[in-house]
Symmetry: C2
Amino acid sequence: MKEISALQKERAAYQPKLPKALMGAVKVKEGEPTQSVANQQEIKELFPNTYGMPLVEFVSGDKANEAEMNVGVILSGGQAPGGHNVISGLFDAVKKLNPNNRLFGFLMGPGGLVDHNYVEITSDFIDQYRNTGGFDMIGSGRTKLEKEEQFEKGLVILRELNIKAVVIIGGDDSNTNACVLAEYYAAKNYGVQIIGCPKTIDGDLKNDQIETSFGFDTACKTYAELIGNIERDCNSARKYWHFIKLMGRSASHIALECALQTQPNVCLISEEIEKNDMTLNQVVEDIAKVVACRAAQGDNFGVVLIPEGLIEFIPAIGRLIQELNDLLASHGADYKDLDKDAQRQYILSHLSKENAATFETLPEGVARQLSLDRDPHGNVQVSLIETEKLLSDMVDVLLAKWAKEGKYNGAFAAQHHFFGYEGRCAAPSNFDADYCYALGTSAAQLIAAGKTGYMAIVKNTTAGTDEWKAGGVPITMMMNMEKRNGEMKPVIRKALVELDGKPYKTFVSHRDEWAKNTCYVYPGPIQYWGPSDVCDQTTKTLQLEQTK
Amino acid sequence: MKEISALQKERAAYQPKLPKALMGAVKVKEGEPTQSVANQQEIKELFPNTYGMPLVEFVSGDKANEAEMNVGVILSGGQAPGGHNVISGLFDAVKKLNPNNRLFGFLMGPGGLVDHNYVEITSDFIDQYRNTGGFDMIGSGRTKLEKEEQFEKGLVILRELNIKAVVIIGGDDSNTNACVLAEYYAAKNYGVQIIGCPKTIDGDLKNDQIETSFGFDTACKTYAELIGNIERDCNSARKYWHFIKLMGRSASHIALECALQTQPNVCLISEEIEKNDMTLNQVVEDIAKVVACRAAQGDNFGVVLIPEGLIEFIPAIGRLIQELNDLLASHGADYKDLDKDAQRQYILSHLSKENAATFETLPEGVARQLSLDRDPHGNVQVSLIETEKLLSDMVDVLLAKWAKEGKYNGAFAAQHHFFGYEGRCAAPSNFDADYCYALGTSAAQLIAAGKTGYMAIVKNTTAGTDEWKAGGVPITMMMNMEKRNGEMKPVIRKALVELDGKPYKTFVSHRDEWAKNTCYVYPGPIQYWGPSDVCDQTTKTLQLEQTK
């Protein structure tokens, strides 16, 4: 018998709450035909069979659907708390529709479908995973489903297992691919439906229809717990500046949410830095100003939050990286044999004037990293740059300069942290446990209703669970055309932090006060039992966005 | 109005549970005279006024003591969850004895006593801090109270505030100094009592009388939450080895406790490595063997726990560091001007043969760090060595060698973490909240009973709170003579991991299985409400140690 923790034991008994509309028999309420958010003509041409379908809402019905169907499920991409609960919701709903129905999980991501690796999900099997974190039930992977050959290979096993529909649980890219697959199977009349499900701790898969992606709530609360603990330490010891990098490369939602929860002295928002065309030196100067201001009042301590993707959002560095990628790709061999100094000279003499200037302002270590380490495609490995250390080093240098000029008289010592793996597999909060279970249930009902190319959705999530509204949104509705690897592609539009949105504006209206004074808030660990205001609060982002 | 989190709000209402014996009026039950654990003659001579006092236990009494007394309190050293609750317990008990009694907190550690910085702790003030983490109520500091001049300066403010006793909340060193101060005031007949209180997340302040130091429970549970989350990620993604360093330089209790809670693939125990006189290469080889064994069964992932103090416990490196400290201290100036290679040569040619051999086996970066960076006293800054990266780099090199020899055929990629600040200021678990409150109450009763040179203790802590036994232990009882900075000093004996103790033996009996198989346990975040088996469990260490 596998040993499990006391929390796992007790938490296994939790029965996720369902919206009223999903509790018994459901009826499908269809809306008007939909359009994609942009590039309607192109998207329509690319998805002739799955474009323009109506929004779907489930309302209480009086006749139980007893659909006979086997279903497949896939976890795609990075882990997010609640994935197991999507599968639990799906499993329970599929079995409730008809006890003879079977659910199959494809192993280690989309690759499991292509390579025919799967497991049947049974009652005993799933009971070990209810309300747990992680994707270890069936594993996940990053294989992209995008080639017809993969689709055809997958079909073989789907036919063999008599699978009527596959639920793909993933982020924006995985759901885009789910839609391509749905369109392909529909065009070929294979009779296999594809349903997507919005997953990602990054929070960048959201729009008018999707209020939030699952996992964002739990991951942010876990990071906020740690940030709060560090703030309390910081405010007790009063001698360190903590530079905390937070996972999430393509948007700053996590950093922003954590800032709203913990009120740190500084939180960088990549989208703002990009919009204002700030240089790295300007970012550093802004932080140093806060350090100096606090030092002047005797507070030689503080907390800085940094989104993981920062570097790529700094326009000057983005342009530099782009030119470096081209330059070094085309001059790979002879460049490689040069020594370090010669490499630096080579780069400086070949870059455009503007990018050479940016390159020269970078600290030596970072410049080296940009000119040396490349990934297998020849690209600069930006993710290897330890932004939290880079920034604190540069702040230190600038403060030393200010000290010489008599403009600063404090003590600056930094500690560094990077939080990512700490939160991606946390046991889901009550919110994520319920939300995911409802998403899984919705997915089952979409399948029973014969839908394909839809994503399961649950709305009105700031109300009580009872009042949540479940349904489906055509994936094409969320698409537009974007350049990917040099080609225009139909993709789900990624949600960046909106600079005219309430979460960001709320942050901006407080940040000067938070910078100067010590306004730390300590959220503490996620609670599963206890007062509802502690256990059942949604993220601040969701609360602010859904407030009319 | 300062913004606080929902958890802070609800948790503020928690009333810590007290042992029956401390609930109403108490009576002092004294045991036999005590002796120090070793060096009885020397300790007795050094502490003529505070040596040999009896153990004290509080039992229910029938007559309320109405002692009039003002009390001071000091937080000393690193933060530990529960410090605020010691002060709350002390405050409530002092006020209950006599409402006219006053409690003063000295600010930012022992320095506050010497420099006369203090605040009066009132009811409104303390209510903001009940059941919270951190030491921010009055701050902490590392000033050592050890000179008569400091003692005399402190006395001035104690007299001014009419303070009868000071409670010093700290680790082994701070309590040693508390005893020196108690002895000094007793010898001078100043009429000021000093009471200690056992604090440290490291868990190395324990003995026959002290079952555990406060903060260890909460800190370990917070680290175990994170390790469990990482294990779940590790087991979902199945592609990384996570090397996790855990705070605690002088003992491996935290790493051991976390291992017992989470069952990682590897956990290094410094005390074992020291006892077996292992080299760094042997430690690395042991880890690499586990990696290779798991790779052979297709599991290219795992979790390794590393105690922060590891490097200093490796005997060969300990000896090397000692010689380096001497060597570089005596040859500071001329050495400094040499270039890197010349410095390396200088060191190699001056070291003893054995230590030179150890130096040569070190990776370049570590050797550089040992030969370059020194603290203000000229000592090697061991704490700057990123052991978690050092070990994974060395494992990587060894695996590459084995791969060439055909002995290993896996994929090794590492992620690194260091957890310390994340747990030191977490809000105390129910155990630490209760334990600390009881310690504070005991401290007040020790003062009322006229005791000095005692540490407040609470025993029988694996039973229900009701049945806990509170009292005091003469600090001299825990002392022996040890060499500190070249001089023999009376100090409280530090508790290392006992290699014949139950916690370590339990770990050893499972570790081969945990290494090979994936036996991860996911403790999840600390819960304050909910089922008692989740909320009120003590550490595994305590459970195992107290099991007869």
